[in-house]
Amino acid sequence: MLIILKKVFFILAILLVNVYICEYINNKLTARMDLRRGYKISGAKGIGFPLVRFFKYISRSEKTNIWTFFIFLFSLLIWGVVPITANLILIEMDYSLLVALTFYIILIILLFFNSGRTSYSDAYSESGKKVLILLSFLIPALFSIASIVLINKTLSLKEIVNSQHQYWNIILQPLGFMTFFISIFLQFKLLGIRGKSYLSPGANIGKEGTGLGKIIEKFSIYMIVFFLIIILNILYLGGWQGIYIIRGEIMLAVKFYIIFVILLLMDKSLGRIDSYSMLIRINWKFLIPVSLVNFIVTFGFLIARDVYNLI
C-alpha cells in the first residue's frame, strides 16, 4: 500500500513539474519565435509566469461544470495505465495499450461536453465538429499502432518497450512513425497549447476563461499532449531504453522535450487554421491511405514470413 502511495506521489510530482516547465517553455519560446522578449516581470526571466497565471485564474470565481471534475479524474487515470518509466506504473496489465487509448478517447469526448461552459450560443454544434475531426485523426494512428502490435506481438506497453532493446521501432516502421507523428501534431494543433484552443467555440475566446474550470481544462490538455508524446516515445523511440551509459530516464526526458519543442515550432510554422476542410483533406487523402498501406505491407510481410515461411 505504501509503495503504491509513494508511486502516486512520484507520478503527480513529475507531472506537475513538467507542466510547469512546459508552460514556461511554451510562453518563452512563443515569444522568441515572434522575435519578442516575453514575460519578464516576476524576475529571473519570468520564471514565475505559470504560477502568476495560475493565481490569476483562481483569483476570479466562475461557475464550474460537473464535467471538469470528470476531466480531472480521467486525465489522472491515464497515468495509472501508461508507464512513464519502467517502475512508475500503478497497474500492470496485458492490455494497457487498449485501456490507455480508451481513456484518451473518453477524455476528448469529455472535453466536448465541457465546451458548454461558455455563453456562446452554438457551442455544442461548433465544438462537436472539431472534436469529430480530432477523433478522426485517431484512425491513422490506430493503423500505425496496429502494425506495431503485429510486429511486437503484444498489447502491453511495457512489453513493447522491452522488445525494442536491439533497435527502435522507428527503423522497422518509418512510414508508420511519419503518419503517427503528423496525426499527433494535428491533434496538438487542434488542442491549442500555444495560443488559442480550437476546441473551444468562438473565433477568439479560445485562450480565455477564468476560474478553476479553466485551470483543469488547461491541465487536462497538457495531460493529453504528454500522453501523446509518451505514447510516441514508447511505440517508436524506445521509451526508457538507455543508450550505452546514459540512463533511460534521462533519455526519456531528452526525447520528450525535443519532441515538445519540435511540436511547438511546427505549430507556429503552420500558422492559424482557417479552413477545417484542409485538415479533413490531409487526414482522408494522405494519412489514412499511407497508414493503411503501411499496415497491409507489414501484415503481408508477417504472413509471408511466419505462416508460409517464404522469407
Binding site: L29, R32, D34, L35, R36, R37, L265, K268, S269, G271
Partner: protein
C-alpha cells in the same frame, strides 16, 4: 508542404536571433523627425521673455478650439501675453497654430508621453508650456 518546411526553419532561426523588442525603461526609441508633440512657447534667448504677444491668431485658427489666449496692455501701448492655456484633451496635434503664427512664437516639442489620472491636469498653463524649452527631443 514546402512552405511549411521553409517556415519551420525561419521560426527555428528566430529563437537564436536577437529580439526586436525595445526594453522600455532602459532603452530609447528615436521618434521620427518632425513628429508633433505638445505645444511649446518659445522664449527669447536674450531677454528671457516669452516671444508671444497674445495676438490670438492661433486661437482663431485652431479647429478644436483648445487654445485660450488673453493679452494685457501695459504702459506705452505695449501688449503682453497674460494667459495662454492649452487644453490637451481637445488638442489633436495638427500643427496649424505653428504654421499660422506670425511671430514664430510657438513650436511643437517632441513630448508625447502624456497620461493623467485626473482630467483637470490635462489643461496646461503658460508656466508649464514654457518649461520643456531645454529638451529638444523627448526620448523614452
Amino acid at each position: 508542404m514546402l512552405r511549411l518546411i521553409k517556415n519551420f526553419f525561419i521560426v527555428f532561426g528566430n529563437i537564436f536571433r536577437k529580439p526586436h523588442t525595445i526594453i522600455y525603461p532602459r532603452e530609447r526609441i528615436i521618434i521620427p523627425d518632425g513628429s508633433r508633440g505638445v505645444l511649446h512657447l518659445k522664449v527669447d534667448p536674450d531677454s528671457l521673455e516669452i516671444i508671444c504677444k497674445g495676438c490670438g491668431l492661433c486661437k482663431i485658427i485652431c479647429s478644436q478650439g483648445c487654445i485660450t489666449v488673453q493679452k494685457r496692455a501695459e504702459d506705452k501701448g505695449r501688449e503682453v501675453l497674460d494667459e495662454f492655456c492649452l487644453d490637451l484633451s481637445k488638442c489633436i496635434f495638427c500643427g496649424n497654430c505653428v504654421e499660422f503664427c506670425k511671430m514664430n512664437a510657438i513650436d511643437m516639442s517632441y513630448k508625447y508621453q502624456l497620461a493623467e489620472f485626473d482630467k483637470k491636469n490635462l489643461k496646461l498653463e503658460k508656466t508649464e508650456l514654457v518649461k520643456p524649452s531645454g529638451t529638444i527631443r523627448d526620448f523614452w
